[in-house]
């Protein structure tokens, strides 16, 4: 067996180890590679920045703990920005399994920035229906959510004063790990009730959402951990996403090297077989 053949049949656990080391070392010893902000992330940031104080910002945390590493930092950055801008924040989720985590991130960020539940923000929790829930919210928010996550009657909350339905919401951002998520908010929400919509998503579904971005159906898109890092740079508060970018670059570099090596070994085997058997 030639060296190239041995390399192509290498124990895959060695590759796992290489990727593990390439991830762990930059996390322990970060070098702080530069992060360039993309226009689609800047659009979300600039729209929130343009909202006057007291505007209504609805953040739909449409993911569960399986997507936490990518979307939780996005939620933290967006909530920090919204609370710093003194926007009225409405939190909710279309994913039943994400309700507890969504409540945790909103409560934590509100506590860190000195915001009061019911006055500065509300977490509506989860309610069934997905598309029909959004339509009901478009008609009457209080029918869709008669009470919030903590069973307080929503009609009595100061944060919702003057908000009757989705038409009264200035900006909606859905942080999505799949369906239901950004597309659902567009199809059943924005297309009908004409509010501005932005999105944040996992890397896996990001390519499928770019057509919505290009056509203007969403005004911006935060894609994966990379997008979260860009948003952290924009608000000037570096967090977990920025800390992970060195590791992300290192693993991508390792994968590119492995792909090139595999191709080199494969082509060298093909070339040597061609010499041995010229037919």
């Amino acid at each position: 067996m030639t060296f190239a053949e041995r390399m192509l049949h290498i124990d895959r656990r060695i590759i796992f180890l290489v990727i593990g080391v390439c991830t762990l070392v930059p996390l322990l010893y970060p070098v702080g590679l530069a992060i360039k902000v993309s226009p689609e992330v800047r659009s979300v940031h600039d729209h929130i920045e343009s909202l006057p104080e007291g505007s209504v910002f609805l953040l739909s945390l449409d993911f569960d703990p399986a997507s936490k590493p990518e979307l939780y930092p996005q939620a933290v950055a967006l909530l920090r920005h919204a609370f710093q801008k003194n926007l009225r924040v409405i939190g909710m989720t279309l994913w039943v399994t994400g309700a507890g985590m969504a409540d945790q991130v909103i409560t934590q960020m509100a506590r860190d920035l000195g915001k009061e539940n019911g006055k500065d923000y509300v977490f509506l929790g989860w309610s069934p229906g997905v598309g029909s829930l959004i339509i009901t919210m478009g008609q009457d928010l209080y029918k869709a959510f008669p009470s919030d996550y903590y069973n307080q009657p929503t009609k009595e909350l100061a944060v919702l004063k003057g908000v009757q339905n989705l038409r009264d919401v200035n900006y909606v951002v859905s942080l999505a790990a799949g369906t239901a998520g950004i597309e659902t908010w567009y199809v059943f929400g924005k297309d009908k009730y004409k509010f501005e919509l932005g999105g944040g998503c996992t890397g896996v579904i990001a390519p499928g959402l770019y057509p919505l971005l290009r056509s203007g159906q969403i005004n911006g898109l935060i894609g994966g951990l990379r997008g979260a890092a860009e948003y952290e740079v924009l608000i000037g508060k570096k967090g977990r996403a920025v800390a992970g970018m060195d590791a992300q670059s290192a693993t991508h570099f390792a994968i590119i090297v492995l792909v090139i090596l595999c191709n080199v070994f494969y082509l060298s085997i093909r070339a040597s077989r061609g010499k041995a058997d010229p037919r």
């Binding site: 656990r13 796992f16 990727i19 593990g20 991830t23 762990l24 996390l27 322990l28 936490k68 590493p69 990518e70 039943v96 399994t97 309700a99 507890g100 929790g125 989860w126 309610s127 069934p128 598309g131 029909s132 339509i135 008669p146 009470s147 069973n151 597309e183 567009y186 199809v187 059943f188 297309d191 009908k192 996992t202 890397g203 896996v204 990001a206 390519p207 499928g208 057509p211 290009r214 056509s215 203007g216 159906q217 894609g223 994966g224 951990l225 990379r226 977990r240 800390a243 992970g244 590791a247 992300q248 693993t251 991508h252 994968i255």
Partner: protein, 248 residues
């Protein structure tokens, strides 16, 4: 540090390490973590659905506020359970018919508007722009999504991919050229999707390793380090015993 935070850190670190053991090989620690994940997810969903739907959206409005009109959706929903009784299974069709009818009625017009009409509208863009002086111009900036060059690339991409999926005529001559161009566009699209998927998977790994590093801190009782030692020791014992059983 509160006890629940400490316990949470140890459970999270332990289950993460147990799941990672699958990279070595399938083993009882991985199975334990996998079964816990499935069980807890289902249990959590059942409790949340019961609390939100049965208690908050049905029981409280009916009993506390006297909104008995909710008996109608409750009745339709209950018909679903007729599936479990062979003699009255047919009743469940009423509920399914309601769901399919309402669901289709809500979704079809909205999806046609959002996915087809809006996307077609965006695909059909002018190939030539009007300059400030009024004459026609062609913008070449590939980085600008609104440039004429990108509109042309989009048009070629859409048409050639449609040709690739056009099976009614043989792919020969100009049709073959168009179909092969379509394959190129598809390959680029798959490559971009795969690249994003790799990035996403690496992000998940980074997220777990970040937590493990955090839980290796003395304030968490160095949970990650102790549990790593325990996991490795368990795997060694399991491998040795498995080897002995095979020899026996």
């Amino acid at each position: 540090m509160p006890f629940e935070m400490l316990l949470g850190a140890w459970v999270a670190a332990g289950l993460t390490l147990f799941i990672f053991t699958f990279l070595y090989k399938d083993n009882p620690l991985f199975k334990l973590a996998e079964h816990l994940y499935v069980g807890i997810s289902v249990g959590y969903t059942i409790v949340k659905v019961y609390d939100t739907v049965i208690i908050r959206l049905l029981y409280e409005p009916m009993v506390k506020q006297g909104d008995w009109s909710l008996l109608v959706p409750l009745g339709i929903g209950m018909l679903m359970l007729a599936r479990y009784f062979p003699k009255i299974t047919w009743l469940s069709r009423i509920a399914f018919a309601f769901i399919v009818g309402v669901g289709s009625g809500l979704a079809i017009p909205r999806i046609i508007s959002s996915y087809i009409l809006k996307q077609v509208e965006d695909t059909v863009r002018p190939l030539v722009s009007l300059a400030a002086e009024g004459g026609p111009t062609f913008t070449y900036n590939l980085l600008d999504p609104a440039s004429n060059l990108n509109a042309l690339v989009l048009l070629i991409g859409v048409v050639s991919v449609l040709f690739y999926f056009f099976f009614s005529i043989e792919h020969k001559g100009p049709v073959r050229v168009a179909a092969h161009t379509g394959i190129l566009f598809l390959m680029i699209s798959f490559g971009a999707a795969f690249g994003y998927t790799v990035m996403a998977r690496m992000s998940l790994l980074i997220g777990r390793l970040t937590d493990l590093i955090e839980f290796a801190d003395p304030q968490y009782g160095r949970a990650s380090l102790w549990l790593l030692l325990a996991t490795v020791a368990t795997l060694i014992v399991w491998s040795v015993r498995r080897g002995e059983q095979k020899e026996g």
